[in-house]
């Protein structure tokens, strides 16, 4: 019917094709513009982002002790390492490491090890923070879920986890205080 009503531009393109393309393009842009706020609303809200840094006082943590603090809903392992543990971590040759990283690159001060306490395999929290916990064959941390073992630098040494325990962004705000995030 109306398709045959002669509506053809000078170059031979039917006008309806043009209108269809323009309409489709506008609908596409419109749907995208509307979808954006919906998707963005699922990203962390401003009050969540406001909690994205955590201050930790290290003064009460004696040598050989560890504490676990929350940062972004995750456990952060903070350990005041003994000289023996530091020695153990630095004596390991890189060739023995699955995810080679020197201990020096994982700490800001030699005795303070700050890590995200989440196994890089499937997200369990490894044991080893409490004095009574099993620390695994490498004297660091041991994940009870699938048997990943970490050393005194939190590096993966045995088991299915692919990477070392992650180091969060943090900074020393004074000699005995850090801000994570």
């Amino acid at each position: 019917m109306a398709e045959t009503a002669g509506a053809t531009a000078s170059d031979g393109t039917p006008r309806r094709d043009f209108l269809t393309l323009v309409t489709t393009a506008f609908v596409g842009v419109g749907v995208g513009a509307v979808a954006w706020p919906f998707i963005a609303s699922m990203q962390p809200a401003r009050d969540v982002l406001a909690l994205a840094s955590t201050d930790v006082d290290l003064a009460p943590v004696a040598e050989g002790q560890a504490i676990t603090v929350m940062w972004r809903g995750k456990p952060i392992f903070v350990r005041n390492r003994t000289a023996k543990e530091i020695e153990e971590a630095r004596a390991v040759p890189m060739s023995q490491l699955k995810d080679p990283q020197a201990d020096q690159t994982r700490v800001q001060k030699d005795n303070w090890l700050v890590m995200i306490g989440i196994c890089t395999h499937l997200g369990c929290v490894p044991l080893g923070q409490k004095a009574t916990d099993t620390k695994g064959p490498y004297d660091g941390w041991f994940c009870p879920c699938h048997g990943s073992a970490y050393d005194t630098s939190g590096r993966i040494r045995q088991g299915p986890a692919p990477r070392n325990l992650e180091i969060p962004p943090y900074a020393f705000t004074s000699d005995t205080k850090i801000r994570i995030g």
């Binding site: 109306a2 609303s41 809200a45």
Partner: protein
């Protein structure tokens, strides 16, 4: 073609493969592509499509709001404020949802008005109309419960007043009210169940809308002349004619909607609802949302508690029997000179009731409400039944094509006989 496959007309191999096994493409083409639609629709016929879009907007924004909302009396108000202040674009999603409810009622009121003016409720579309009334009731229940969720003063006291309506019923009243509350006053159990039902009912609406559309596609649409199409000369394929017309209306609708959301998002609300719910203090002037005002005015116009509640529910329930109260065979008010005036008066009464419902329960509003309420019911119960017998309608056009094309269009043999006969 293999045995058991649907005979598909589609050329695209992927679409064809699906269509042969599940002919949804054939169905869409039949119901929304070539679907024969009266050629003389005016813009009032946009509002069904607009209501459909509005429903989808409400469900989409509602699902995203529910991701951030907490249905607990201690957290509900704060979680809504958090949506407004902290959640990315939360203010936009909430304002769209909030004003979407108003837009939904504007659209549906016009849609219902259209049906009443052009006689769309008459045979053979009675069931289509009744399903529409069911949708309207579900919408009202959903909107009411949604308004309770922010747990502001108006939420709380609106919920208290509306649930107390049921206490008017003798014997079972108290029992029903306790059942609604889940306690001895509007409290946390009430909020919890209202949230649950507010999430459920829109999907029930989707189901009834589906039935509404199924019924529509059996009888076909009414049109401004109220004369059934008698052949292809009276109709146009739905696409592109009405997809285009609906799209244009949709753009206008979006402009109005956006104007409300971006420039006057709280215009249709009450400032009192930004005060957290307090069960010990009732706001000085409590009114429901604007779309409930006409019915609220009817409630207050009746000096008896049970009578008021029955009249209020009756004002909507009466729509169910409208197809049988209006005994005139002529659909469109264009050809009913007296009914047309009576209906326009009814429309004015509706707005008068809306105005009085928003005013304090004092004179002169109570008396005005009483007259308007009387006319509201008289239109259905006295005027329409009588006019069916007494009114002399104007001559109907022989066909849609005759009327809109000015005498042109070939008439199929036998189609001329009686204007009201179906094709």
């Amino acid at each position: 073609m293999a045995i058991g496959l649907h005979n598909s007309d589609f050329k695209n191999p992927v679409i064809r493969w699906v269509d042969q096994r599940m002919p949804i493409f054939t169905m869409m083409q039949k119901e929304y592509g070539t679907f024969p639609t009266p050629r003389n629709f005016n813009y009032f016929w946009n509002f069904g499509a607009l209501a459909m879009v509005n429903l989808m907007i409400m469900i989409a924004t509602g699902i995203f709001l529910a991701m951030h909302y907490t249905p607990h009396t201690s957290y509900a108000f704060d979680s809504v404020e958090r949506i407004m202040r902290d959640v990315n674009f939360g203010w936009l999603i909430r304002y769209v949802h909030m004003n979407g409810a108003s837009m939904f009622f504007i659209v549906v009121f016009i849609h219902i008005w259209r049906g009443m003016y052009y006689g769309s409720y008459k045979a053979p579309r009675e069931l289509l109309w009744m399903l529409g009334v069911v949708i309207f009731l579900l919408m009202m229940a959903t909107a009411f419960m949604g308004y309770v969720l922010p747990w502001g003063q108006m939420s709380f006291w609106g919920a208290t007043v509306i649930t107390n309506l049921f206490s008017a019923f003798p014997v079972v009243g108290e029992w029903i009210v306790q059942l609604l509350w889940g306690g001895f006053s509007v409290d946390n159990p009430t909020l919890n169940r209202f949230f649950s039902l507010h999430y459920l009912l829109p999907f029930v609406i989707v189901g009834v809308v589906f039935l509404h559309v199924v019924a529509l596609h059996i009888t076909g649409s009414n049109n401004p002349l109220g004369v059934e199409p008698k052949g292809p000369q009276d109709t146009l394929p739905f696409h592109p004619y009405y997809t285009a017309k609906d799209s244009f209306g949709l753009v206008i609708y979006f402009i109005v909607f956006a104007g409300l959301v971006f420039f006057a998002p709280n215009y249709l609300g009450h400032p009192d609802n930004y005060i957290p719910a307090n069960p010990l203090v009732t706001p000085a002037h409590i009114v429901p949302e604007w779309y409930f005002l006409p019915f609220y005015a009817i409630l207050r116009a009746v000096p008896d508690k049970l009578g008021g509640v029955l009249m209020m529910f009756g004002s909507i329930a009466i729509l169910f029997v409208l197809p049988w109260l209006d005994s005139s065979p002529v659909r469109s008010m264009r050809f009913r000179p007296i009914a047309r005036i009576a209906f326009l008066l009814w429309t004015i009464c509706f707005f008068v009731l809306m105005y009085c419902g928003g005013m304090p329960a004092e004179e002169p509003y109570v008396t005005i409400s009483r007259f308007a309420t009387a006319y509201y019911f008289a239109y259905f119960l006295v005027i329409l039944p009588l006019l069916g017998r007494l009114e002399r309608p104007l001559p109907l056009p022989e066909s849609i094509a005759r009327a809109v094309l000015g005498g042109g269009g070939p008439m199929p043999a036998g189609a001329v006989a009686k204007p009201m006969d179906k094709a």
